[in-house]
Structures are given as C-alpha cells and as structure tokens.
Amino acid sequence: MKAGEQIEGLRREKDVKRNLLTIALPKGKLLPESLALLSGVGLDCDEVREDSRKLLFEIPEGEAQVIICRPTDIPTYVEYGAADVGFVGKDTLLEENKDVAELLDLRYGFCRFVVAMPAGKTPPRLADGGYDLSVLNHQRVATKFPRVAQTFFSDLGMQVTPIKLHGNIELAPRVGLAEMIVDIVSTGATLRQNKLAEVAPILEATTRMVANRVSLRMKYERIQNLADALREQVQRGTAARLSDLPGGKGERV
C-alpha cells in the first residue's frame, strides 16, 4: 500500500499542530471583553477583529489560534474538538446541551433568564410574594431558548408549548403568538418598553470557559495553565466590575 507515506505526512502535520491551541470566541457583545481577558494573560489579540472578513487569527508566539464563531455554535466547535477551548455564555451552554467540560466562570456577560408576560395579565400573587405560575398551564411560551423554558416549566410539573423564535421575542405576546416569553434580560429596559413584567426568575448566567473533553486530557497543561491565568485575571478584575453587575455570581439551575 502506498498509504505508508501518506500516513507519515499526516503525522508530521499533526505533530506540528499537537501543541497548537484553538480558542473559539463568540462574536457580538461578549467579544471585546473576551479579547481583553486573553490579552491580559499574554495572548496578544490585537489583530483579532470582528469587523474584518477573517474568521481565523493566528497567534504564533502564543502557539494558539483564535476563531470567531456565532455564540450558539461555540459548544458545537468545542464538542467536536475543532476548537480546544471556547468562551461561551452559560445561557447558550444550557440551551445547546453539548458534551463539553466547563472549566471556569469568567464572570462577564451577566444576564438573567426570566419568564415575563404583559404587565396587565400577570397571574395572582402567592403568600410568599411570588406569582402563582400554575394558572399558566397549557399556555404558549415564545423564546430563543426552548430547552431552558421547557426544563423550567417541566420541573414545576407544568405543560407549556415553547415556540422557538430567533429574535424580538418581546413582540410575541403583544400580537397573540404566545401568552408569555422566556428570555434573557440584563437591565430589564427592553421588557419595560414592551410593557412586559417579569413573573419568575429562572437562572442567572455569565460567560464560561469550556474545553473539549479530549483536549482537556491531551493538552492538559496548556489548558489548565490558561484557565489558572484567566482565573487570576478574573479575580483581579472582579472588584472593579462588581459595581456594574445587577446581581452577584452564582446560578440557580
């Protein structure tokens, strides 16, 4: 078989790549802080720009490359090992439900998952001050996160119908597509503008560093060193950032 030479060639290529760390970063609002964090631990990301057409950036001196992906695709890149590590919101992680190792809470990109509905139609209050969600059984929930919504209501023993939308979720209850929404909020301004009221918190989410299961074993030192450096960086930055956060860290799942 003439394949012997091919195998050798393939192997040399792999040897070169063996130490290369591929880092997947989410485009959009999480990108600037992601780049700042990486630069802060010595991976020079000055060249990485979202507005360029490039999607792959080499950082030769760091033996790394950065790829820019849609946030919802990051768990997929990491699960298949196309990226060794990725930065991704816990919200996306829960919704995509991929098999990746979650290494570190990077603490930025804070947001909350909530159930909201038109301000005039909120359910009656319970003795503890919360809303009685049980009257919402069999209703429709518009959301970008059908898995998160379904899990939340199922755990309450309720049956609702999630309706998957890709944007402008707030519109759905106003035109009767759904009775309520499950969405992420950071300040609540969008809800108020659309005359929606929060009726239940679901969970809080921040950005996480995730890793491929096999990369975590085969490139353990590199990934763990990066995680340790990032942890230090995050802890240093937390005090400065705490004032911006509406809540603290932590999650309710």
Partner: protein, 382 residues
C-alpha cells in the same frame, strides 16, 4: 415502486461504507481481532436486537435506545453496547465454563442520541470471573496494544478508579445530596458547577480542598501518594494501591508510556466499580476507547462474577487513515472464447489472484482502457 425523496436518504447518523472505506474498516477490525485472539480472547456474537430489560433496565436512561415492540408488546432494543448482552449470555449459557472467561466481539452498536454516529463498529473484550489486579492490567494493556498495532501514534490513555471517588465521598461525610450533585457534575466535567456546590455548602476547609482538587488530579504515581495522605479509609487505600499496581504492571507489559493516572475520569450512571480508563487520539473529539471493571453487573443477571473489559470505537478511527486504495482486482481477463475465459479466470483465482472477467466481447484497447480506469495493473488476453 418509484422511490420518494425519503427513499433516497439514510436516517440521521447512519452511514454507507464504500468499497475502499469498507476495506479499511475490515482491515482495522481484522488486525484487532487477530490481536485479541493471540491474547486468548474468543470471539462471540450476540443479537443486534435484545429485550430492553437486558440492555438498559433503567427507564431514565433509555433515551439513547432504538426501541421496538415485539408481537407480545414487549420492548425490544438495538444493542447500544455489548457488555450487558455478554453478561446475559455468560450468566445463562456459559455458567459451566471454567473461569476466567475471555471473550471478544466486533460488530455494530446503535445509539439514538449522538448526531454523528448512531450506528458504529465496536471491537472489544470482556474478561469475566477474575477480581485479580493483573486482570485489570491485562485488559488495559490489551486496549493500548490495540491502538499501538493499528499504527496510531500520539494516543493517550487515562486511568482512574471509581473506588477512590466513592471512598472519599464516604470518608468526607458529605451532607445528603451533595455526593450525587458532585458525581453528576464531575461526570459532565462541570468544574464551575462543582466549585459553586462546594462553596455553597459551608464545608470544612480540608473537604473543600479535596473536592476542588480531585477533578484535576492527574499525573504519575505521585498523585496516589497525595490521595493516601487524605484518608485512612481502608477502601480508599485498597483502591489506590490497586491502581498503583495496575500502573506498574503496565510497565511490565511495555505500555506504560502513553498512560496517565487521572482521578478526574468518572462515568456517571454507569456500571463501573473499579479501575476505569479512556483512550484518546488527537483529532477525535471524544474518547475512542472506554473500559474498566464492573463487579456488580453480573449479579444483576443472577450470576455474581467480577468482570472487566473495554470497547474501541472503530468507526471514529477511520478518519485517521488515508483513503485505502487497494484497487478492484489484480488482473483483467478478456477474449472471444467465453468458456476459455471462464477457465482462465478460475485458474488464476485458484492461485489467489483477484480476477476481473471482461463481460462480453471487448477489443484489446477497450480492455486496456477499462483496466486503467479501474486501477487494474495487468490485462490478459485468452
């Protein structure tokens, strides 16, 4: 009947294998099964379709099964793995055999969960009836040899022990529910979740340290000494020393180099009880080999036997090899006298050649062109 668009597709996760791909898969399987045979493992076959009660009695975990009903309304399932089927087989039909039993298999398993591979070829072994540490070592060594003899370079095996985790959880006397929470998060490799569980629970500092360190503990024998420093518990001690001994035997088998000890590997909701291991290959995003000791599974089948084994996900290795270009035949035979052509073909085949017979009358030029297009090196006119 004319096929609809659906009739031209295959279901998600299913794959056709073309001749070159099949030749490669067969080669890998043959090499591996031959190796198993030299280690005295005998090949068996179990049915693809089993009762769900055999392969996965836990209804919460059934979602990966392809399920059907038989005519009596009982639930059937395509096997998602071999270990329970072999436990059934041994418990019912091989009780009279002298243990230890060494069995191996090579066939497809079916999982209705992963998007990419839903039917894939597994090769693996089961060593039934020995609780000896050397039995664990033999199985791990054979798994490593399997990848080695396929000429896969840069692979790595990580070796852990379920008993160390279980013992520590017992010894640390955690509040109710916390153990399950940590076990579940550790199996999913959710380090952030472990950290937040540990910090929420107001545990003694030493307990916190151990729980946070455990998922990251990997390396050589030194990590075992660290564990021994954590606890006097006899179960932990036995598990740790067992793991150390397996690791040392691997050196005697000549396969210790690609092995790391790793206390962070833990498979949730599994039947494993002792030494467990995973094999990794660069470029494949999930473990290509998985195995370990499962000493309580056979009791579920009414035949209490210790056992250990592993399976290799052969389908996932195909992509590591270049396309197998074996050609269709060694020689093309053509001629006007059909009975003579048939005789010559049979004669050459009798000599072990792969012989293609030209169908119908062809000229020398046509035969030459045909052979060139098909990659056949020789042409013979009769």
């Amino acid at each position: 009947m004319q096929r609809s668009a659906l009739g031209l597709r295959v279901p998600m996760g299913m794959h056709d294998l073309l001749p070159d791909e099949m030749a490669l898969l067969e080669h890998l399987e043959r090499q591996t099964l031959d190796l198993f045979s030299r280690w005295a493992y005998r090949r068996i076959q179990t049915p693809a379709l089993e009762y769900a009660a055999c392969v996965q009695p836990d209804v919460d975990r059934e979602d990966q099964l392809y399920k059907f009903f038989d005519r009596q309304g009982r639930i059937l399932a395509l096997r998602p793995e071999f270990t329970p089927s072999i436990a059934r087989l041994v418990s019912t039909r091989l009780r009279a055999s002298q243990p230890p039993l060494r069995l191996c298999y090579g066939a497809d398993v079916f999982r209705n969960s992963t998007p990419h591979f839903r039917e894939f070829r597994q090769v693996g072994v089961e060593l039934v009836g020995s609780a000896e540490i050397i039995a664990d070592a033999e199985v791990v060594a054979l798994a490593i040899k399997s990848l080695e003899q396929l000429d896969i370079k840069d692979f790595q095996f990580n070796l852990g022990h379920m008993g160390i985790f279980a013992g520590l959880m017992r010894d640390l006397a955690l509040p109710p529910g916390l153990r399950e929470g940590i076990e579940e998060k550790l199996a999913r490799k959710d380090m952030v979740g472990i950290e937040s569980l540990v910090l929420q629970n107001d545990l003694p500092e030493r307990t916190q340290d151990i729980l946070l360190k455990l998922p990251h503990l990997h390396g050589g024998e030194e990590i075992l000494d660290e564990v021994l420093g954590w606890s006097e518990d006899s179960g932990i001690r036995a598990a740790t020393e067992g793991l150390r001994q397996v690791y040392r035997y691997l050196r005697d088998f000549g396969v210790q180099r690609p092995v790391a000890l790793d206390l962070g590997i833990l498979r949730g909701f599994s039947y494993y009880t002792g030494v467990i291991f995973e094999g990794y290959v660069p470029g494949v995003g999930f473990p290509v080999a998985e195995g370990g000791r499962y000493d309580s599974l056979y009791a579920d089948f009414g035949y209490n036997q210790p056992a250990t084994g592993f399976a290799i996900h052969l389908g996932s290795l195909l992509g590591l090899f270049p396309v197998w270009e074996s050609g269709e035949a060694d020689i093309l035979v053509f001629g006007r006298d059909v009975p003579k052509v048939i005789r010559r073909c049979l004669e050459l085949r009798g000599q072990g050649k792969r012989v293609e017979m030209a169908l119908g009358p062809v000229t020398r030029t046509e035969a030459g062109n045909l052979a060139e297009k098909k990659g056949i090196a020789l042409v013979e006119k009769v």
